[in-house]
């Protein structure tokens, strides 16, 4: 199982004032707030942690079918190495591993539930546009991005005739499509 989330840093700077009073305490645990305030790049740290929470939420949402807005319930720990970060998100005792990519334009996080990992994951980055499904399918002839019976995204690989879980995230200028190519995640 996987989830992903991208934050366009330019758009976030314009639209999301995380320095607003009480904003961070509503969404981040005290430990996470400390990470932000002790960071050399507090803006980046906010959106890194936020994307981890969102990416993990997408797995929980998919597994349970429940929609909710409880960012503070997702507890993040993270280690940053240059422009990459690895972390863990705990939601009510359930743990998700995360891998994030950071640059001046965006923060992108992939989250995984036990059993699948980054080595089984393909990520495609595209320009964000309303017709992304069409443009993805035109560009990637061997693949088809579609929705399964529950309305969730999946990738159909023509060569193997197999269907694979996918996660789509878009924000501002960026669109990321991530999917697993392991057989255990093939949707029958």
């Amino acid at each position: 199982m996987l989830g992903n989330d991208v934050v366009d840093l330019k758009l976030a700077r314009r639209r999301n004032n995380w320095r607003r009073a009480n904003y961070l305490s509503k969404i981040f645990t005290p430990d996470e707030q400390r990470l932000v305030y002790h960071s050399d790049c507090p803006d980046l740290m906010v959106w890194l942690i936020w994307s981890m929470k969102e990416a993990a939420y997408k797995i929980v949402n998919r597994n349970t079918g429940l929609r909710f807005f409880d960012p503070k319930g997702f507890h993040c720990t993270v280690q940053i190495h240059d422009l990459k970060a690895t972390g863990c998100v705990d939601y009510r005792g359930e743990q998700f591993m995360t891998h994030s990519e950071i640059n001046e334009h965006y923060v992108h996080t992939l989250s995984f539930k036990t059993g699948s990992g980054i080595e089984q994951c393909h990520v495609v980055q595209r320009r964000n546009a309303d017709d992304y499904v069409l443009s993805f399918n035109l560009k990637h002839k061997g693949l088809m991005l579609q929705k399964n019976n529950s309305g969730l995204p999946e990738i159909f690989i023509r060569k193997t005739q197999s269907r694979h879980l996918a996660s789509v995230s878009h924000h501002g200028r960026f669109l990321f499509i991530a999917y697993l190519h392991t057989t255990e995640e093939v949707v029958s």
Binding site: V7, A12, R15, N16, N17, W18, R20, A21, N22, Y23, K26, I27, W50, E54, R67, F68, F69, D70, P71, K72, G73, H171
Partner: protein
């Protein structure tokens, strides 16, 4: 404060965070913040904070978790106003 006043106040707040004018014009209890109004999830926090200020209530995490559509949000506001009135 009746339901209509709450809904009007809520619509004023929401209008700051959506570009979906049509969905805003036709707002109803069924309107979903993300699916219909395309509100960015990081702005849901702003909506919660704005509601706290405007209606002078405190919204706990459990209530915030439900606030993804107009119906649930109006119910949270009504409950919190009633709690305040009972104090």
């Amino acid at each position: 404060m009746d339901k209509q006043e709450i809904l009007t106040g809520l619509r004023d707040i929401i209008s700051l965070y959506t570009e979906e004018q049509d969905a805003l014009d036709h707002i109803s209890e069924q309107t979903d913040f993300i699916a219909d109004l395309k509100i960015n999830s990081a702005n849901l926090v702003d909506i919660v904070l704005d509601i706290e200020e405007k209606f002078n209530i405190n919204i706990d995490n459990e209530s915030m978790a439900k606030m993804l559509n107009v119906k649930a949000t109006v119910e949270v506001i009504e409950d919190k106003l009633a709690e305040n009135a009972g104090k």
